[in-house]
Symmetry: D3
Subunit: 238 residues, 6 copies
């Protein structure tokens, strides 16, 4: 239970991380950020990109939807600032098409960078043509109504993670969330990791093996790992 | 139970909607048609396109398959007319690859526009190269035999919808079915909706918010929706 | 239970099929090979390509992983020869991202043709850019550690099939495994089938129906299959 | 598309099969009835009994629900006659708890024999205590509202089968539907089968093998089936 | 991201609701509590009881597990007071058997009322015999190790809900969480609802229809709902 | 690929472990055996008991089925000896009801102890009444035919494990397989473990904590685990 997750409310002002830090996190991508954050913050992989290749990061405008009802997405549109990402979940499991080409037009006009939704979307051909990136649980042509109150900019649970308004979401082939107040610290750690990985990549490209690069031969032996020349040798040893 | 869903029969002549109406429905796409039809006729989203980007509409040649057996697809090929779509389901859940490059060659030669199958298909690289659009439940290299009798052009249940021979199926990122006798009435409603949506889209592109465009501010207030400046304000109000 | 599936061992020398036979199988593709092998050897379709369009065949370097641990992939890299394919499964169901851009760099440097893994992978954008084909059960940004011993080049069960080290795996939109000692016999059968299918394809392209090409009209009649002119005729006959 | 599946209507009078035939079908059970009906009419096994051991058959009062809304179940209750079974599906996939102890009280008071629902139910402890048998897709404590119109006694698609009002549904560890007009013919076939099976069962109990009882030894040999004394013999023969 | 969800920590003292309020919530059961709480707080129905018929409520001792590792359950055991419920989730999806008969012995000795775990458990026969109620995502004989640090009594996300240490969890055929500070207010609302429902139940038992009890006939008519005598009448009206 | 997994064959004589060892393994149960065998041999938990509470162990009569065809189960019945267990998988994923009350009668008459099947079964009420334990992937009333050749007593892959004829399968709330030649060694290890666990259980029953019993306090501290009195203390430390 999120204490502030009441229905029928919207919060206008949210905390946002500095633009520069968000850009750094976007450059790093979700996997490196997740690693830099000590492996917390991953949304369940059941949310998948509607089209391949996009990578975005932005401040979260959180939306709590009612099943089959996208009213709150319109409320969110007004509260979003350019560069924000709308992230929505639903009070009960639902795969209807909450979002399509019309709302994407509106989002683009407001400068919204993308949508992450634990629900369904439609008009995926248009979304791709408009280059508006979306991550969703399902694709469904079934439209929705505008009848029942949810909330905007309250904490939500989306794909197994709590998202607070203003938290930074980084999405590409996965999705990771970073608390807004940690943006710089995580970006620092991520870039350090990136540098480290670049060095490793160069070595790998030259043909150096991970066994040598990470000095694993000794630990393997210590752990009792054994090499056999052939399968026969292995059989004889059992 | 579909009374006419007997095994071992094929019906040669089926009712088809006028070509012009089918073209109008194809232009509209499955999501708009579904909306125009008052949200009925959607096939379950578990049927997915084998490759992205295609949109087709056509009269349904219905096929009832036996598990692991694609005999009836050959019978269907003869009864199909140019512009038809073959839509198949199976007497029991089965994901074998009922359809591959050979049958696609045959389908293209007969002028068949595409295949929708609650089952598996194979050779998806070839299907894409041949630009023969297919929607299926699975992709499987496991081929099938030609031993047991199903039926062609009897009513079937496919992905949760009854399909009668000659019904119009519209497929893109979703699939919708329209009774052949309703083609014009649904196309009319769909185009009206399309016009309405185009006007909305123009407004959205200009930056007008859905809240204003759909005059939602008053209804939101009436429903008890409340805005707070900050999260603190919200907490204090609970 | 695989008797030789002990933990903490690696076998250096494995049996490989002749390069030429592997190339023939690669040209044929998984569906034809599966058919040529009398429909055995298909891995479950839950393993899917990370990007579309690749087709590879190679000798299997088998890897038994522990959950959340990719140590053994580094061991495998040293034992792989150019042209080999790494195929990995896990001692318990796990979808973490065992493999990403760094290991892909290493694999490319060693001449490894691709990866098949009953587990998760990350950095799919990079994998596509590097053109390193991967088939996996999941995509996950969650990285792994290097702590616990699995094995390399012991028999494994992957996606429902036993894979012995050196067995040939053929992967495109599906995956099929061929015992290394059967390479030639299966390639022969596959090419024969391919020739047969090419002839059929030509006939299909000309518009000949499967009913005629496969002489199905007589068997259909014998099996009791009946044609009706119209749905009314069918109803009257029930 | 079911032509008569309009929203916002109820039909008062439906065709029912004679009580005696329904009783015969109930005695036979769903598996034997399915067999007697030549293996058509099985609802998908995703619908499961809330508690084990019940077996019922009755005339179908069909209900088309809206997601998260059980209004129509109240309408159905008035139209049901003692011995009827309520069978419900939803316009979109939904697992909310449409039915609980209160509605079960009402159903029992009206003489309804049970509920089959492609949706969720709640209060399963009470349902078991009240001995009111229910088959559902899910168990969920999430209650529903009474706001939106569905329909009662129109044809529906439920778990992959079309159900017409008055069709006979037989439910135990599976569910089968029989057209009301076929009740006697199917009951006859089922009892014949039952007799046949009883004779077989007696033989089986005595230790007679199926191979002998069904005279399978000859057909096996004809099909090329071969016995080997030991695994070594088999290996040598390959 | 839960800010306080760090790894490697345990909090000794937690807030608990008064025993009396917890007892009232237990009597009400999860479905009524969920309703009384305005339909928030339901855990996903993917967590299921290991054996039927149990109903418990208690203060949450929260546990964050690492995959394949049950170390933290031992830490939790010391911090639990009689009447508490242990509720655990894992840093990554995992179905291993974290809990079996030994830990159940320990839990019973400490007065723990039950376990809720988004993971697997084993020894279910013993759990039933010991009458120790467990709700889990899976049943698996695969045991776990005690190697890696998680946390105890930090906020966790379990089956889609945030659980704070000390929150009240009510579990029977579903699971609902109530913030500890709301215990009385929710129990009050629940008992009011219970009284209301009892009155309704009496009426239902007498045979009064929901249509009359809830005065639905007028609203139905207003919403445009129409009755037809027969299916023919309905058809003629379309 | 299992080299000996040819179609259309049966092997008459198989290796069996001594009766006494099988009895010891049965007494231990699947979880303890799995642990004693160093955590290998677990079948995927997707196979579930048709009714609760049974525990059996026996020598495996392996059956390779064709989809929708139970012919080979009759062949298996003749080759089974009293105390054996029939374990079956299918050449392709299939949930039809391969086994029902008739075959159970035959199995009981032959002294077969139970059935494990990666497929569907029917007549579960009868199976329970007859006390014939079955583990299956699905329950389905859909019967099968006797047309196509599979094999009996060849190695099979069932639920992710290779099963050789004569291997010992232990099934209760999970399933574990033990190579027949290892029966004694595994039973010895299991009983040792059982003794060890009994001692622990006594301690747990007295209220001793796992932290003390397993001497975990020191390792926890070494790993950096920290206790805080209150949530406030934890927050201040972050």
């Amino acid at each position: 239970m999120l204490r502030e997750q009441v229905l029928g409310v919207a919060v206008k002002q949210i905390n946002r991380a500095p633009k520069k830090q968000i850009e750094r996190l976007e450059t790093l991508g979700s996997a490196t950020v997740h690693e830099a954050q000590k492996r917390v913050g991953q949304l369940e992989p059941s949310l998948k990109p509607v089209f391949q290749g996009a990578r975005i990061a932005g401040s979260a405008i959180t939306v709590l939807l009612q099943p089959g009802d996208n009213w709150m997405l319109h409320v969110a549109m007004e509260l979003a600032q350019p560069g924000d990402i709308i992230i929505a979940s639903c009070t009960t499991s639902n795969t209807d098409g909450f979002f399509g080409d019309l709302l994407a037009s509106s989002a683009l006009a407001q400068g919204v960078k993308g949508l992450i939704i634990e629900g369904g979307v439609r008009d995926t051909r248009d979304l791709k043509e408009m280059n508006f990136p979306v991550w969703s649980k399902a694709i469904s042509i079934r439209g929705t109504v505008k009848n029942t109150l949810g909330s905007v900019n309250v904490p939500i649970i989306c794909a197994g993670q709590q998202i607070n308004p203003g938290d930074i979401v980084i999405a590409d082939d996965g999705i990771c969330v970073v608390p807004y107040e940690n943006a710089k610290i995580v970006a620092d750690a991520g870039e350090k990791r990136e540098t480290y990985e670049s060095e490793k990549r160069e070595e790998f490209d030259k043909g150096v093996l991970g066994l040598d690069l990470y000095k694993m031969r000794e630990p393997l032996k210590k752990a009792g790992f054994k090499y056999f020349e052939t399968n026969e040798d292995l059989k004889n040893s059992i």
